[in-house]
Amino acid sequence: MNNQKKFSKIYDQYIDKIYRFVFLKVSSQETAEDICSEAFTRVWQSMDKGTKIENPQAFVYQIARNLITDHYRQNSKIKLVSIDNCKEIQDNQPNLEEKSLLMSDINEVKLALNNIKPEYQDIIICHYLDDLSIPEIAEIMNKSQGTTRVMLHRALKALRVVVNEA
């Protein structure tokens, strides 16, 4: 199988999961698309360099996680400027679609997810949404299986607290 076919297989298999994983962490469709695109570009480049990817799933998730970290790091450096100097700044108010989503239960959990530790977010998304097993998550997060199991338990507890408080 040539590199292009290998990449296509990985892309088709993981694009939905990675997109969802990223989207739930950044809460912006545009940013999620950019990060996903960059993550898969890096996978493609690594394959071209001849890097042997033994676990494509862990590899893509790790890249995506690093890119999300970079995204938040960069955003923290953004300086605030006076609104008078940016008259054409984008309106950050939720649009109709987003408003309707806000009303739903889905959004309730989504908002709650954003209020727990990033590591807890990762573990919940990977396990309950992407149906990854504890060993698979442990590999992605570079943790032992025992630690991952404990973390999952704590993450779910933390999410419950946030949802119930809302």
Binding site: I15, S37, W44, Y128
Partner: protein, 255 residues
């Protein structure tokens, strides 16, 4: 909210999916991106040559023969093309290789003749450069003429001592005269003096040895009164140091 209900709600988030158009477009975009590390597959010279040969669609066992033929044709092409090169040109060294090969293959008696032909060629090149006003080639061309003359002088010395037959001597004399005229023309056009001292000396001593030997041989031969007269004139010219003219007289009476 119980844990079970929470997990059910979390699972509802699975509805979040990227747009199908974006998924397809992004994949195409990634695959069409020129890669930073993209290098053309390294091909060995052999493979490259083999690829060229594949155009001819020949059987594998014929490929070495075809490769040799192609190389041969290429070399012939380069050598033919180099024949028009002038001193200072890129292909002139190729032309010189061919000239040196011609000299090496000539016999000792033929060598001065070949050298003289070469000197004539060099003088032709010099005249051509002067006529075409190719200033950058001029210095190299003059050097080439002088070198050819020196080489000719050396081979003349050898052949004058060893001696050669009358026919070759006659041809050499004709070439001497032709070169003299060419040299005069080139010097006139360029307004320079070609360093031909060694060549002139060799030419003179060649004439001297040749005339001396011929006179000696002719003394023992039965000559008619007309030939006797020519021999007498040749001797006088020889005694006066005019060897070229003396040789001319000898040629008249001998052939």
């Amino acid at each position: 909210m119980t844990e079970k209900e929470l997990i059910k709600k979390i699972k509802e988030l699975q509805q979040i999916k990227p747009s199908k158009d974006w998924v397809i477009l992004t994949k195409e975009k990634i695959l069409s991106k020129p890669l930073v590390n993209e290098k053309p597959a390294s091909i060995t010279i052999g493979e490259r040559f083999s690829n060229i040969l594949s155009v001819f669609n020949v059987k594998p066992f014929l490929k070495p023969a075809l490769a040799t033929a192609v190389c041969f044709c290429f070399l012939i092409g380069v050598f033919s093309f180099a024949q028009n090169a002038l001193p200072g040109d890129l292909l002139y060294s190729v032309k010189k290789i061919a000239e040196q090969a011609k000299i090496s293959l000539a016999s000792e008696t033929e060598k001065p003749k070949v050298q003289l032909e070469l000197t004539q060629k060099k003088l032709d090149e010099l005249t051509k450069i002067a006529e075409e006003n190719k200033g950058k080639n001029l210095a190299s061309a003059v050097q080439e003429v002088e070198k050819a003359m020196k080489d000719t002088a050396k081979s003349l010395k050898k052949v004058a001592i060893a001696g050669n037959d009358g026919e070759i001597a006659k041809e050499i004399k004709e070439k001497f005269e032709a070169i003299e005229k060419q040299q005069e023309t080139a010097e006139e056009i360029l307004g320079i003096k070609i360093d031909s001292e060694e060549y002139d000396e060799s030419k003179n001593s060649y004439y001297k040895i040749l005339v001396e030997r011929e006179i000696k041989e002719l003394k023992d031969r039965a000559l008619n009164p007309e030939q006797e007269e020519l021999l007498k004139e040749a001797k006088e010219l020889f005694d006066n140091g005019n060897y070229q003219e003396a040789l001319a007289k000898i040629f008249i009476l001998s052939y």
